[in-house]
Symmetry: C2
Subunit: 536 residues, 2 copies
């Protein structure tokens, strides 16, 4: 069996893409649903040197042992994997390709790349799993520094439940090393298979936990960063009050301040008890109120995702027009039914009903597997769709459709108006640019006592050849509403280059000035990921 190979234009493993059969079935359902003709962009041919721009620089001798200017490698590292990226990859447009890809084998290699780049003024883009959806790794002519060779769990402190891990470990590579110890990070962004520890840290990724430990930030004890000016390493601490947190400067720094090479992270015992339920709401805003009260009750659900009726229908098979709240609790220490019962009671106070009942499981059901709660019914359907979504997205892109998401966070008092205006703005844009064929849906991915993190999905017909321009109009309309309403331009997808216009309005100007000054001390040659977050 040939080992799996990453797709250079689309999501994940090339051989995990939808089969021709699956794609045809999907196309048929799109035809029925939208009443439009759908034809399929053929799969692109593997890129050759001629299909790529000339490198700005060739691989210097000092970096030859671990660098490549191979066409496939350059294409694979040209983009992240947003809708825009897939459209361009499918089109064979690799104009922003890096000059070459360096894959450091150790920290000395990282330093060698930075030293050479600083001396030659060559931009360097740190590259983890390449799952950016905000243009975070796209820079023509740069050196793409792929960190996935640094993927070891170096140290395990079972007592404190913490690990020292190299930053290039992809999600499954990390979890495979933790499983024999009964440990897990349980940080499962949708990109889990194709994103790395370092990528999570650099982008403040959002993970598995719907509450409390929502961002990777909360799981960090310390970080080790190689900056062009030298090494920055913080102390392993469970908590501290000694000055502003050094880690918090690097969390979310998106590769502009240094290359994250290692971190000490807090891990978990594998959960033994789980309990979950799907709660239906005839009125969406009754569901919103229920989630608000649940999130203010300090019950700390692991899962608390409210899907509006359209999203419940399209991704969880809920056909009665209700909104679906996926509630889940888990623990390695104790049964969690009391917690779930209380959350359900709150939901019922707000008109929620639980047609499929509660699924609860514990170690008595153990077969070496994690408890099964949450794998069945509407909840299970939603989870499967969630993991496969990016592959399905690629197939839909091949049909010339627009399939993209954006997410934000705002306080509860502002959510109803924000939701209405975002929905209106996207629908107006859909009407104007896509003939009104499409929809926008909303789910909560994470919830806080003071507000939700709503995640919007857009699905629309498009004129072939105009997919990007049409999406740009929709995205601009939505982003404008977010920024005007005081919401954030991103809750866990980072800023990159794509979100810059709105991030620049969100972030205090004086903070940008301070960050620029900090960067100048760490990266005096301004080589690291220029254009991301701030201008050099």
């Amino acid at each position: 069996m040939t080992p799996s190979r990453r797709s250079w234009w689309g999501w994940g493993w090339a051989d995990s893409a939808l089969s021709d059969d699956q794609t045809e079935k999907l196309a048929a359902s799109v035809r029925t649903r939208f009443g439009v003709e759908v034809d399929l962009t053929p799969l692109p041919a593997e890129p050759h040197d001629d299909d790529l721009p000339m490198p700005h620089v060739s691989v210097p001798d000092a970096l030859k042992a671990f660098s490549s200017a191979d066409a496939y490698e350059r294409a694979l590292h040209t983009y992240g994997r947003s809708f825009r990226d897939v459209v361009r990859g499918l089109d064979g447009d690799f104009s922003p390709a890096p000059s070459f890809v360096a894959r450091p084998r150790d920290e000395a290699d990282v330093t060698a790349v930075l030293d050479w780049a600083t001396s030659t003024g060559t931009p360097v883009v740190p590259f983890g799993g390449g799952s950016s959806v905000c243009g975070g790794v796209e820079l023509a002519g740069a050196v793409s520094m792929d960190l996935t060779a640094l993927d070891r769990v170096v140290e395990i402190d079972r007592t404190s439940r913490a690990i020292r891990v190299q930053a290039g470990a992809l999600g499954p590579v990390l979890e495979d090393q933790l499983r024999p110890h009964g440990l897990t990070l349980r940080h499962f962004p949708q990109s889990f298979e194709f994103s790395t520890v370092g990528g999570w840290l650099a982008t403040r990724s959002g993970g598995h936990y719907a509450s409390v430990y929502t961002h990777i930030d909360d799981l960090v004890e310390s970080m080790r960063v190689i900056a062009p000016s030298g090494v920055v390493e913080s102390r392993r601490l469970p908590g501290s009050g000694a000055g502003p947190s050094p880690d918090r400067l690097f969390l979310g720094s998106e590769g502009i301040l240094g290359v994250i090479t290692e971190a000490w992270l807090r891990v978990q015992d594998r959960p033994q008890w789980k309990a979950s339920a799907g709660v239906r709401f005839a009125e969406y805003f009754s569901g919103v109120e229920a989630v608000r009260v649940i999130s203010q009750a300090a019950l700390f659900p692991t899962n608390c995702r409210l899907l509006d009726a359209t999203e419940a229908a399209t991704s969880a098979g809920v056909e009665d027009g209700t909104a679906l709240l996926v509630l889940g609790f888990e623990s390695a220490d104790h049964p969690v039914d009391v917690w779930l019962d209380r959350a359900i009671a709150i939901a019922r106070d707000h008109g929620g009903v639980v047609p499929d009942g509660v699924v609860s499981s514990g170690p008595s059901d153990a077969t070496g597997q994690e408890p099964a709660a949450g794998r069945d019914g509407a909840v299970g359907a939603w989870r499967n769709a969630f993991v496969r979504a990016p592959y399905t997205r690629d197939a839909l892109v091949r049909m010339g459709l627009i399939v993209e998401t954006f997410e934000t966070a705002t306080t509860w008092d502002r959510f109803p108006a924000l939701h209405a205006e975002v929905t209106d703005a996207v629908q107006a844009a859909l009407k104007e640019v896509c003939g009104g064929i499409g929809w926008v849906t909303c789910r909560f991915t994470h919830v806080y006592p003071d507000g939700p993190a709503p995640y919007f999905s857009v699905f629309a017909a498009s004129r072939r050849g105009s997919q990007l321009a049409q999406w740009a109009e929709i995205k601009a309309a939505a982003s404008e509403v977010l920024v005007r309403h005081g919401a954030t331009i991103t809750h866990h997808h980072a800023v990159g280059r794509d979100h810059r216009p709105w991030y620049d309005r969100q972030r205090p100007d004086a903070y940008a000035t301070a960050l620029r000054a900090a960067k100048a001390t760490l990266d005096p040659g301004s080589i690291l990921n220029p254009g991301v977050l701030i201008d050099p």
Copy 2:
């Protein structure tokens, strides 16, 4: 009745100090316990201009309306309230007095002070409640900017449970404004009465919650800061992933980057259910193990303080030589007995016993008061001692004793060795400098899944006139152990000037350089609290 007046040399209200009677009783018990003669430093006379150094500058006309160079005001603002500060205040040594005290009435006044100070190169020390225990507000000749006139809750968002509050509100001033709305911040550092919102933010103070929301950091939605270069205001967000967090630059900035004038903070509904218990451990390290397992069980106790046997005896009246674990849970939403029961079960697995049983109360007991759980028995005794401790400390200082604390945080794997070495180092120092008369005790103030925040108290006989030098030797011995073991020099008491030698070794050098560069953009005249955290 004359209104209460702050003590210019000691803790809190002048009229809340121990009475002559109480002081004499305390002295008698010290005589018995230590077998040493104790005589009492007389209370100092109120300072006059002649007792204070000449101001470096006089109050400029532009600031006259809200500034004072009165001797009492200058003395009151000379120090924080550490052991060192009280010894010097009692001694009438006010040599580092500020030139004058400015008390801004609004943000325009804050700006006026900063503009004048920048133009004249005069250092400015932002001053909240003045409860610093690390030399954070001590700078000879500076302008002390007292922010307590800015003390209003400006906006309440009941839906999101958040408030906009001016930074100068002292703890009780804040809570008085929240009580009519059924809300509370529930951030209760020991200094609660004499510390402000802005002081908490600037020093990353540790509060009421033993787990999860341990630092004020976790309660912040956004901040407003007046820097000499202009206003920095972040957005109110429940969560965000848009670049490094601007707030995290100012949290813990100890007045060196700007003056915090406002913040949006997450508040709580007032708790309706409480449950608590005191668990005794014959073996201290069995208690430590129990706390470790409890803190890794995601039960999120509100209180989880382990007092070693000496501390249990001296401050909670536990006379059988056991260590005391104070466990407490509270909720505004649901009974918490299940949570407490599980924590107690874990404690019992580690040999804990619960001689006084569980105290549990709910809204049925309501009399307009919060539930009573935790007010009685050993738990209650400890709480009362906690609140009165600083006044008792002052009386003991008058007897020429050494009474001081220091705290840290470290991972569980390192705690036993750290505890042993700290204890040994302090005891060796006590033997050398104090004739061995004294003790060091330890309690956990906050706990994390990956480690505890141990808080050490030192109590020792001293040669009169050598209190400060003797304490300096003890403190240096302990701090050296902390830094060598990879622990933090402070968990929630800030860095100030006193912790600088050890903080400088703890903090990555490159981070200091970056912070210095950031400061230069915000405070180009280097007027703000020079000497704290970094050198100008």
